[in-house]
Symmetry: C2
Subunit: 154 residues, 2 copies
């Protein structure tokens, strides 16, 4: 994992379909060398998948919300985690420090879809309390965080 690898990740984060030739030209390497590095980045788990950045509004998801969840004391936490991980509306869910147990980022077609979601969490006895914070607008949203490509690291 050297600077060239990080440059390659940066290029692919901007355009996952960039050709090996073009990437090679950008990092002064042959296409096969680039190919070999990408293969290693994938097998070593640095690159998890090649994916998409989409406009969820156009796809019909007008509502973005953060739902803070306090788990019920008798909730089966691993069952909750697999339920929330398989729920199509949940984009992210993290176990967090502070007053709440979990923070879930959810996307819904309309505001009215949030209540049934909370109701299901409650019906399954996961939920003690919750608080929903709506996102009004987004200043930035990027899938990949990279250090400025100036240093080495392992």
């Amino acid at each position: 994992m050297d600077i060239t690898d990080k440059k390659i990740i940066g290029i692919l984060a901007n355009d996952a379909r960039a050709s090996l030739t073009d990437i090679g030209a950008a990092v002064d390497l042959s296409p096969s060398a680039v190919n070999e590095r990408i293969r290693r980045l994938v097998t070593s788990g640095v690159i998890r998948r090649f994916t998409l950045e989409v406009d969820h509004r156009i796809l019909g998801f007008d509502v973005l919300a953060f739902v803070w969840i306090a788990l019920a004391t008798d909730a089966d936490e691993s069952e909750f985690r697999s339920f929330i991980a398989s729920h199509p509306a949940v984009a992210e869910c993290h176990h967090v420090t502070g007053a709440w147990s979990y923070c879930a980022k959810v996307r819904m077609p309309t505001l009215g879809d949030i209540e049934p979601f909370l109701a299901e969490l409650k019906a399954r006895r996961y939920l003690a309390r919750s608080e929903t914070v709506l996102a009004l607008s987004t200043a930035t949203e990027r899938p990949v965080t990279l250090p400025p490509a100036t240093r080495r690291s392992g």
Copy 2:
């Protein structure tokens, strides 16, 4: 934007480098037809970019945090937004309802990197108050939210 388009987006979200041939086989279309649909999805803005899902731990970002920000009353909000959007550690930042103005999702190499970040926000007179919530573990994290595909396109 029909069901076939949504299927194509689902396939590309799982593997942005899937070949037109394979996608076509999955949705019963010729490679050229798939190519044309993807082109339309890109130009219409549904697909914003082809990108990567990476393991930020391996890349040296061990800390994921949500920083709740109350803007200073005299802060230049659009200046704040462009500052936060260009900050490399900020993965997301949303204007939100509730007690706080903004919620920023940040990735840092270490816990110690959070304080200088907050200090800079304060030094620039953006920050009135803030609260930092750490993510201890992640139950799920997906870049694309899609409705369950329930029907065939033909």
